[in-house]
Structure formats: C-alpha cells, structure tokens
C-alpha cells in the first residue's frame, strides 16, 4: 500500500466535513463581525457591534434564562423520571419488563416535530385531553389555558421535553444498574441495610458517572433544542417561552439581521463547546469531574 493511500481514502470524509461543518462555522463567525444583510450581502466589518446588540437586547437575556431553565431543570427532572423507570425495569419481572421497556422508549423514537404537535393538541385549552382529565378530577377549571398563558407555556414545553428525553435516561440508567456488582448488595443485606439505604449508599454512587454524563449530554441537547419549542409555541406567547435556538431564527429570518443572528449563534456555540469539553473530560477520565 502506498503511503498516500490512507490519506486519499480519508479525503472524501475530510472534504465533506470541511463543506458541511468548517465552512459554515467560519462563514458564521465572519458574519458575526460584519454588517450583513440577506438583500445586500456583506457590507463591511462592524467589530463587536453585533455582539453588543445581542447582549443589549432584553429578549436575549430572557431567552438565556428560559433556555437555562429548560435545559437544566428539564434534564434534571427527566433524569429523575428515567431513573425511576430504570429501577422498575430492573426488578426483573420477566416478560413484563420487555413489554414495558419497549413501551417506555416510545417517546424517544417519535420525531420531535410530531411529538410537539401531539403535545400541542393534548394541551389545547378547549379540546385537549389534559384539560379534560384535570377538569374531570376537579384539579383545574375547564378551558384552562396552558400554551396561551405566558406563565405556563415554558413549563408545558419542558414537560414535553422531559417526556421525550426520559426514555434515553432510562436506558442508560438501566445499563448502569445492571453493571453494579451484586456482591455489594449482598454484603449490605448481610449488614442489615434497608432498601432505602442500599439505594443511597450503593445504587446512587455507582450511577454517579452515568448521571453526570447524562446531565451534561441532556443539557447540551436541550440547549440546542429548536423543534419542540418552535412547534409548540414559536417562543410565544409574547416571548414567554423564547429560547436561544428559536431566537437565532427570529434574529436571522424574521428580523433579517443576519449579523446579530450569527453573533448569537457564536455565543451559543461557545456555551455548548464549554459543556462539550466537560463531557469529554468526564468520558476520558471515566469519572465525574
């Protein structure tokens, strides 16, 4: 084999990466420092002006707060729910486990757009099943507004996100649970440890790595999540559920300020790169930082 053959074989993948990843990234970075319009193209450098505009915009800070809540709280709750289901599936109840395992993973395999539309209808104030059940149980009044209420819209979108993310957490936790050595539980049982103590002193410490990795991964994915919010609320009502990825679209394709949209993309990219670095460190060490 010639010395150059491996490089030649790698070339198509390299070219593909350059065109679909490196070029857009560099172009976006250039745009973020430029006065750029979709109509007239790039008309000059503006330095940090686009970044200033982003940080001066109150909508950015509102979206940043929403995104942080959406990502951190949403992922945290999804992990708790995922762990609960993983513990149930780990009870080894025979075929029921297989059936339930399949059922629980359905939300994960549904397209986020389809899931978003389904949740939109479930939460509809007049025809939604959620309102019907809650009103029948006397918990809320019939016709309660969820997605049309600035106070509840973000919570509803988070609920849908949790519903979609928990199966992934469940599968990962189940794998983690099954790798815990049985001897540890047996020794604890001999020492007379209760089920609760075994959970807190054996199960949870053994799941620390997988929990940390899942938390970072979940936050990264949620931080980047456009579909669910866009389909369910488009960031409304009155920007109450606006998150950063939807705001990028708003700046770039609604306000047609590509420079500002690019600057915001770079800010998100920097945030996610930091989180990804944490994730990679965890993976490489095999333990949480």
């Amino acid at each position: 084999m010639k010395k150059s053959t491996p490089y030649l074989l790698l070339l198509p993948a390299l070219l593909f990466t350059v065109f679909v990843l490196v070029y857009p990234l560099v172009q976006n970075l250039i745009n973020s420092f430029s006065d750029v319009s979709m109509i007239t193209g790039r008309s000059g450098w503006t330095g940090l002006k686009n970044y200033e505009h982003v940080f001066e915009d109150t909508l950015f800070w509102r979206s940043f707060r929403n995104t942080s809540v959406y990502a951190v709280v949403g992922t945290g709750v999804a992990l708790v729910v995922g762990l609960a289901f993983a513990l149930l599936l780990n009870l080894k109840l025979g075929k029921i486990n297989t059936v339930m395992g399949c059922l629980y993973t359905i939300p994960w395999i549904i397209s986020p757009v389809v899931a978003g539309f389904a949740w939109k209808w479930l939460l509809n104030d007049q025809f939604g099943v959620v309102n019907y059940w809650l009103a029948s149980a006397g918990i809320v009044k019939h016709g309660t507004t969820w997605l049309g209420n600035p106070g509840t819209a973000l919570i509803c979108v988070m609920l849908a996100r949790i519903w979609q993310f928990y199966p992934f957490a469940m599968v990962m936790f189940l794998a983690g649970l099954q790798s815990i050595p049985q001897e540890q539980y047996e020794a604890a049982a001999v020492d007379g440890a209760t089920m609760v103590r075994r959970f807190f002193y054996i199960t949870l410490p053994n799941l620390k790595t997988v929990s940390s990795v899942m938390l970072v991964l979940g936050v990264i994915w949620s931080f980047n999540d456009f579909n669910m919010v866009f389909v369910m609320t488009r960031g409304g009502p009155m920007n109450s559920s606006m998150v950063l990825p939807v705001l990028v679209r708003e700046f770039s394709f609604v306000q047609f300020d590509l420079g500002k949209g690019s600057a915001l993309s770079v800010v998100i990219f920097a945030l996610l790169t930091t989180l990804s670095y944490l994730y990679l460190k965890m993976i490489s060490r095999g333990e949480p930082t």
Binding site: K120, D125, A153
Partner: protein, 427 residues
C-alpha cells in the same frame, strides 16, 4: 480482477454518455400554501401549459405559506430560488426594491395583459413605477359569524363596535353549567404574529386609522381612533371575557375547530374561511359581513375600508428563462384560469373583470360583499419594512395591551416609536 472492474466502469460511462441531453427549458414554480383543491387546480394548469409549450418543463413544488419569507429570502440571497412563485402582493415593495422580483411591466404585451384585471387590484402589485406580479386572488378581511349561535340567540350580525361588543358578550356562555364559559363571542389568532396583525388592522382601517402617512415617512397607527380600536379588543378580553382565553396560542386550525364546534361565535377572516369550515364541518353556515365600524361612523358601514390582501404571481429577476416564465405566469393567471376562483370556490376572490362579471359569479357565496369590500379596501402601506413592523412590532405590543400588560395607548405609542425608528433607519 482489475480488468472486469475497469470494463464495467467504461461501460457505464459510455452508456451514460449515450443518453440524449434534453433541450427542454425547465422552469421551477413554487406554490406557497393553498387548500388541496387549489393545489390540484394549479397542477392541472401546469400540465395544460406543458402541453401547449412542448419545449418547456415545469417543476412545481408546494411549500408552506407560513415560511414564505424565510424560504424566499434564503434562496434569493443565495442567488437561487424558483422562476415563478406566488406571494403576498405586499412583498412587491420589499422584494421589488431588493431587486429579487422582475418588473413584469417590461414585457412587451404587459399593457394588454393589464386589461384583464380590476385596476385597483392590479395596483397592489405595484411598487414605485413597476409592477412586480400578476394578481392571483384578492382577499378582503370580513367578520364571519357563526349562524347557528347567532340564530339561537336571536341577534343579527353587528355593524357597530357597540353591537360587536354586545353580541360577543351575549354569545359568551357557560353551556354545560360547570360555572366556566365554554362558548365565546370572539376568537383571535394570537399564535401567528402576522395572522394577528392581519385581524387587528381591519378594525383600525374601519375607524379611519392609517398605518403610515401617504408619503410613507410617518407611523400613524397610534392615533386616538387606533387606541380606541385596540381598547375595544382589550376590554372585550379583560372586562367582558368574551374572547377565548387561550387565543395567544391559536393558529388557523384552532380557530376552525372552535368555530365548527360552536365554541366561538365570531372571527375576523378572509374568504378562505367558509371553505375551511365547510371542509371540516359540511353544512355549517355563517353570516359573512363587513368588519364593524365605530358607532359614530355607521353611515360609512358599507364604504369604510377593510384590509385588502392579495396573492400575486411573480418572476424571479435572476431567472434564466424570463420569457418562458412570463408565458407560464400568464397561463396561470389568465382570464380562463381566473374563472376557477368563481366556479371552484378556491378560497379567495377572482381578480379579472371577465370572471367577476361572469354569469357564474352571481351564484358565488358572499361574492358581492367581497367585491364591495375590495372596492374600498386598502392594503398594508407599500413600505419595504411593513412586514417586519406588522409582525415584530405591532403584534407583540397589541397583544400586551389585549392581555393587560400595557394600556392600549402606551402599547401603540411604544410600537409607533419603534416602528418609526425602523422607518427612519431605512430612509
């Protein structure tokens, strides 16, 4: 081993090169939005065009109406985009000024083609000295009233703001006796920024409010009557509770469902609404009337302007086949094609003189009302920033006023200030 692979490769190359290169001219036609019936009609039209012009092939793509601006901007700015497309006529200013649309008045037979159309409708496709498309269908915003609910209550469709407010109040009811209203007087489209603006502005126009001055230099929607129009809706929501509480999340489908299931009595809509309701709930009837006017303007009820919108077909200025695109445009929009708006109830109003004056037109539901409204209606001002102002400034501030976060005056004043900044920056 190497030889058979080489032979196979050479054979494939030679087979590929044997294929005759097609000399057909290929036109891209992008159709945004439309009910299935309209899309089917357009396909038939393209098919008949291809039969008439054997050397031209048309590739028709259907795209989302909601993403129209984003899709076209992205494509145009990349130097791409279709040869022919349908858009809002108020894009003439924005895309015409940007040089994205080709001025169709440059075609030698334009003066003849111009004669097909109702003059003031054709004017909506004009920006400065150029026409940037041919009218496809006209829309006047009207008030659609749920006939079943109005008849049951024994009230007539409202003509004035007081009657409008009173009717909405009377039609807001708790029908199942659980102490919570489940039928509302009015439904608004709050989940779509553009859609909301299009349903608010008719009330402003009917009250004689201008969005901008005639010279397009000054924002004027925050006039006292503009504030009064917004206050009317805010009071209906906050005081009377006669507007559906969840309106901020509603788009077309929710409004249609509420209307069809008798949970909403009124909605400000266009001519597509009867068809949409009919598709979902066959036989469901409605009163279609003019949008109400302020009480002191009752004498102008039939002549006060509503919002006119129009869909037009345009040509991409960068098309390599301008002449052929023009031929396609004419075929899609000639008098024969326009008759389908009359005979097939496609969800808007025809725009040619011959179609509107035809015998068949006499039997079209509400057509006389729409023609009358269109005779007086006004489009959004032809300012290149108008769409951005309506969607990103006017709508959010009006919504804040409706739900009570701001007073109507404060909301409109603030919106006017921001809109003026945008207009001044453009200058």
């Amino acid at each position: 081993m190497k030889r058979p692979i080489l032979m196979a490769f050479l054979l494939s190359i030679s087979l590929l090169s044997c294929g005759k290169k097609s000399d057909d001219i290929v036109l891209q036609d992008w159709n945004f939005g439309g009910r299935p019936k309209l899309i089917e009609f357009l396909r038939q039209r393209v098919y008949s065009f291809e039969k008439l012009h054997p050397g031209i092939k048309v590739i028709q793509s259907d795209k989302s109406w909601n993403m129209i601006r984003e899709i076209l901007y992205a494509d145009f700015s990349a130097g791409a985009g279709p040869d022919v497309m349908n858009t809002h006529s108020n894009f003439a200013a924005e895309f015409g000024e940007a040089g994205f649309y080709y001025p169709v008045n440059k075609f030698p037979d334009f003066e003849q083609v111009k004669q097909w159309y109702i003059p003031h409708l054709l004017e909506s496709t004009r920006y400065k000295d150029n026409y940037y498309g041919l009218p496809s269908s006209a829309i006047a915003f009207v008030l659609c009233c749920n006939k079943e609910l109005f008849d049951k209550e024994g009230i007539a469709p409202p003509k004035t703001w007081s009657q409008f407010r009173e009717a909405a109040k009377r039609l807001t009811k708790d029908t199942d006796g659980d102490g919570v209203p489940d039928q509302f007087g009015l439904v608004l489209m709050g989940g779509d920024k553009g859609g909301f603006a299009y349903r608010m502005i008719p009330l402003f126009f009917k009250a004689g409010v201008n969005v901008m001055s005639d010279d397009l230099k000054k924002i004027e929607f925050n006039s006292p009557m503009g504030v009064a129009a917004l206050k009317l809706i805010a009071d209906m929501y906050q005081v009377d509770h006669s507007i559906t509480p969840g309106f901020l999340a509603y788009t077309h489908s929710e409004i249609n469902d509420l209307f069809c299931s008798n949970k909403a009595a009124m909605s400000i809509e266009g001519p597509w609404f009867r068809g949409m309701v009919g598709d979902k709930s066959p036989g469901k009837d409605m009163y279609v009337v003019s949008v109400p006017v302020p009480d002191n303007m009752i004498a102008q009820y039939d002549t006060a302007p509503t919002l006119q919108d129009m869909v037009m077909y345009s040509i991409n200025a960068r098309s390599k086949h301008l002449k052929e695109a023009w031929e396609l445009l004419k075929h899609l929009r000639n008098e024969e094609a326009d008759m389908f708006w009359i005979t097939q109830d496609l969800g808007a109003t025809a725009t040619t003189k011959s179609a509107l004056n035809s015998r068949e037109a006499q039997s079209v539901n509400d057509l006389q009302l729409y023609i009358n409204e269109l005779n007086h209606a006004r489009p959004w001002p032809p300012h290149p920033q108008m769409i951005a102002i309506a969607s990103n400034i006017f709508t959010p501030y009006c919504q804040r006023a409706v739900v009570g976060e701001l007073s109507p005056k404060a909301a409109l004043d603030q919106a006017a200030r921001e809109a003026q900044e945008l207009v001044d920056a453009k200058k």
